[in-house]
Each structure stands twice: as C-alpha cells, then as structure tokens.
Symmetry: C2
Subunit: 341 residues, 2 copies
C-alpha cells in the first residue's frame, strides 16, 4: 500500500479521455470549462484519491504559497503567540508557514535565510537575533525581490515594513509610574544597546528621568542579555553600590524575575524597599509573589498585523510603495511588585 503511485491530473485526464489542461481548469474553477466536465473531473479526482501537487503548481506559477518566519526563540510566550496569530491570518489566505528559529545566533539566522530563500518562500517575516549587528542577509532578501516584514526587533538599516510597540514610550510609562510611586533612585537592567529596541528602552528611561529633573546615574544602567541569571547577577551588583536603588526596571521579564529572586534571598521587601518592573508580560509575571509589573507587547496584534502587511505586499502591483511602519501603544500592567501606594 505504501508505494502506490500518486495520481496526477494526467491520470484523471486519461480516465475521462480529455486533456490534462482541461482537468486543471476544472479543478481550479477556471471559467472556460463546462459544468459537466467540471463535475466529472471532480468525481474522478475523488475516486482516484487525487492530491494536487503544490510543488509543481508553485514551480509553474512562480509562487509557493509558503511564508518563512524567523524568530529568535520559541520558548518565549511573546514570540510563540506572535507566530500563532500570524499563522491564523496567513492560513486564511492560503499560505503555509515555515517556522525557523535563530536561537539568538547570527550564523543560524543567516543559514535560515538561505534555506528559506532556497525553498522559494513568497515572503519572510522576521525578528532579529540578539547577536545580529550585520544586516546584509536581510537586505539580500529585499534585493531578491522577496517581501520582508520585520517585527519587534529590527534596525534602521533594514528597509522593510515594521510592526512593533513604542519602546521609548514603554520605558516612559514605567519610569513615570515608578516616580509616581515615590521611587527616587531607579536602576535599569538594560538589554544590549546595539539592538534598537533596547537602545530605545534606555532612551525612554533617560528621557523620563530628565523630564522629572532627576539625575542620570551611569552606575544604575547595566547592559545584559536579560536572562534569568543575568538578572540575578546585575541585581547583586546593584545591591553592592554605596547607595542602593529603590527601584529596578529590567528590560525583560526573566531578568526581572532573577532580580526578584535575589531580593527575596536577601530579605529585601518588594516593593516597599525596592520596586521591580519587567517587560513582555510572560505568563509567570502574574503568578509570582509578589506578582510583577510589566509591559504588554500585544503579541496577538503584532502577529496579525505582520501577516496582513505581508499579504498586502503580495497583493499590490506597485512594489515600490513606501515602507509601512506600525508602532503600537504599549500597555503598562501594574502589579504588586511596584505598587507602593
């Protein structure tokens, strides 16, 4: 049973004594075919358990109906939600998703791009790996005439559509909130500033402090990879300062959790002595005690909008239209870890 030859439109044509092209038309609801033939074809197709070969069709039409997606990691609820909603929208328009992950590695990212282009995807939707500072392979996608949509992590050097939240604004929301809560010495466990979103978060942090005529203190800004362990280390470092901070804003939830752990281990009261804020609304932030204040990045919307941006690119004829830039308003979710009043 396992090696039966697959039935093709040719087989169907033979049975009915018509030509393959007639069968093709019948199967694709082409107008120039009689209802009678169409019905007959569909009947025979069913009988022979016909399975269209999208590869052949793709080759012929020069369109694979495959969309490549590159995300840094799957084990982050943000990215996996984004992909989930992207898929939803894309499937509705007849696209399948090829998902790849870079594991935050630049080389893996390049390999993935190569592989996706080889597979003749109709477009690529991506978010940068942490490591990436060279954007040639992304520009190669564009130069190949393949639509590219970036989300969350991108760079000004990549001339593609972009969907993300306003990171400067996110930081401002957080810092303003902390100031309202009476915090006077706010530390920032930042991401690496070579990445645009983290640079923007640092900028928002600084802007907000300046607006309130508060001092910018270099020793309170620590760049990190935002892992749980890095959060722990940086928090340790902050505790060893002459003058402790009274609030810590980490640019990622895992780092915030690490900080929280250290504070608990040192019996430092959160938020009374030191307030903690994270970023991304990972599910665990609602479940820790105290629960962690964080930013909702709108993964669902980002996924859907990115998919729609791609579909629009495919639909439009004039591929020279301007690049779309959708910046969503972040939402501050205030929880116990920062509520002092």
């Amino acid at each position: 049973m396992s090696k039966q030859k697959k039935t093709t439109i040719k087989d169907i044509a033979n049975v009915l004594n018509i030509t393959p092209s007639a069968v093709s038309k019948a199967l694709n609801n082409h107008p120039r075919i009689s209802q009678k033939t169409r019905d007959a074809v569909i009947q025979v197709a069913k009988n022979l358990n016909y399975q269209p070969n999208r590869l052949a069709s793709a080759l012929r039409k020069g369109k694979s109906n495959l969309v490549g997606v590159i995300i840094p990691r799957t084990n982050s609820i943000f990215f996996s939600n984004v992909v989930q909603h992207m898929e939803e929208v894309l499937n509705l328009s007849g696209y399948n998703v090829i998902m790849t992950q870079s594991n935050e590695s630049y080389t893996k990212e390049c390999t993935n791009i190569e592989a996706l282009l080889d597979t003749q995807v109709d477009g690529i939707i991506a978010s940068l790996a942490n490591e990436t500072t060279n954007f040639e392979s992304y520009n190669k996608i564009i130069n190949n005439g393949v639509p590219l949509i970036m989300f969350d992590r991108s760079d000004y050097e990549i001339d593609a559509d972009y969907i993300g939240i306003d990171d400067v604004r996110s930081s401002q929301l957080i810092v303003n909130h902390l100031i309202t809560q009476g915090c006077k010495r706010i530390a920032h466990i930042a991401g690496y500033s070579h990445t645009r979103i983290y640079k923007n978060r640092i900028k928002g942090y600084i802007d907000s402090l300046e607006q309130h005529q508060m001092e910018i203190n270099e020793e309170l800004i620590l760049e990190s990879n935002l892992s749980l362990n890095d959060g722990r280390e940086k928090m340790q470092q902050l505790l060893q300062l002459e003058e402790r901070p009274d609030a810590v804003y980490a640019a990622g939830d895992y780092a915030a959790l690490g900080a929280l752990q250290i504070l608990k281990e040192h019996n430092i009261k959160v938020p009374e002595e030191i307030a903690v804020v994270g970023f991304s609304n990972e599910p665990f932030t609602a479940l820790t005690s105290p629960s962690i204040t964080t930013i909702n990045q709108h993964s669902e919307q980002i996924g859907k909008l990115a998919a729609k941006a791609f579909i629009q690119r495919m639909d439009e004829q004039n591929s020279d239209s301007n690049v779309t830039n959708i910046i969503l308003e972040p939402e501050l979710i205030i929880r116990e870890s920062s509520k002092r009043i």
Copy 2:
C-alpha cells in the same frame, strides 16, 4: 532592483558555454565532472548571486526536504520545546520544518494534514488535538506512503512510530509520592478519557490506589479540558464534597494552577490541608508559591527522538519495517505543593 530575474543553472551554463546538466553536476558534487569545471561553475554562481530553486529540484527528485509538524498549541512550553529540538535535528539533515497547529480542533487538524500533503512534505510529525477521535486522516497519511511519527498524544488506531513518556507510570509516581506524604483521599482532575494519554494517567492513578488497597472513589475523578478555568471549577466541585480530598492530582499544570488559586482563595493550606500535583513542568510551576510538584515530560528528548525516527524512516529502504515505540521514563519533580514531611 526588486524585479530582477533570478539566475538559473541555465544562465550559468550560458556564461561558461557548457550545458545546464554539467552545471547541475558541478553544483551537486557529482563525481563525473572535472575539478576545473566545478570551480568555474562555483565562481560564476557566486558572481551571478545564484540561488538554487529547491522547488524545481524537489519536483524532479520527488523529495521536498520539508517536514510537516502538527502540534495542538504553541503556547505550551512542552510543545514549543519539542518543536525547537525537532527542528534542530532536522535542519542538520537538510530538512526544513513546516509548523502548523490544530488549536485542539479536529477540523483544523484535517485541514492542516491536507495542506501538508499538498505541499508534498516528506513526512509528518504530529500530536493529536484534544477533540480528535477519528483517525482517518492520519491513516490517510500512512496510506499515501508518507512517513508519520506521532508523539505524546496518539492512539492505538494510528499505526505509526510513537515517542512519548510512560503515562501510567507517571501517575503511579505521583500517587505513590502522595501516599508516602500521608495523603489518604487523593482526587484526580483528569483529561478526557477518550485520549490515550489521559486514559493511561487515569489507569495509573487507579492501579496505584489499588496496589495500596485504597478505595477508588468515582466522585474524586473529574474529567476536564485541563484549562486553568476548568481546574478552578473542578476544584470548587471537590471542595463541595461531603468529605474533602486531602490531595489533588491534575493531569495538566494549568489545571493544577487553577486548583491552587481556588485553595488560596479559600485560605486552605497547601500542602498541609490539601496537596497539589500537576503535569508537564511548565515554567511557572517552579515560580508559584507554593511551587508545584509536577512531571518532567522530556520535551527535548521527545523532539530529538521524533526527528531521528523520521530520518531513519527516510533512510531505510524496506519501508515495511516494524513500527517504533519509544516510551520514556517520566521524572517526578517534587516541589513545595506536595511536600508534607
């Protein structure tokens, strides 16, 4: 720049005044070609920015190097880890992954299977949707001669390779542990018993109680969809019994969390008054207070083994070889929610 024609082996052939077939051989390290030609071809290919067209190659060779993956949900760390490690192994062997999700829906699952078969994937790796009780479409995959590997959720009616953990044993580990902790009335918030893994978890639960000459009480076994909300509801129900349980084993972590929330809301001490155990080792189980005892399902191993099983199927000539069945030993992770002594 965006509409440049893609370079093909024909273009390369023209430049060098040789035939496409020679170029093909050179590019594929075919032995019957001179080193000189090979070098020249590779040089020109680089100059013209040649990108092989895998679709054409796939059509010709009858092999797409695409593997379809069907998972019920992406927002579960178990499934997303599995996919991640699957991808790792598959990429190494030159395969790309097309990821689809059923959202626990039977219809979506069928659509996904159709789409994947149409795309001419070389194989499918899948885990059943909760809803699924009809396995025709899976058997269709097999009948089409496409290798099928199931993991975690499968059924005896699907005659495919399988990788999963020993669910009966998992329940036994849990129930034995609870008994050791002095629990005498152990409730089970179960999954729907039409699904094999949940049936097995129920079986393990019953077996273990019988082994200890403890009573099997129907009112303590509640089937559910294992969502957080269902966990809350079932826990409510259990609290309304004449005689309360002193332990609750939920067949999923989210349900366990729901139960924990209800217990907290009622100021019932965990684990002193009622112990709680979950299943799957979702990251949040380590972070709640009390942290939740649970089962490690070995997502990494499952992903890798499933990928390897597929690769083996592809490599072997005699496709009639027996079905592989890999059952991994579960690991009980004991945390605060069940530690009474």
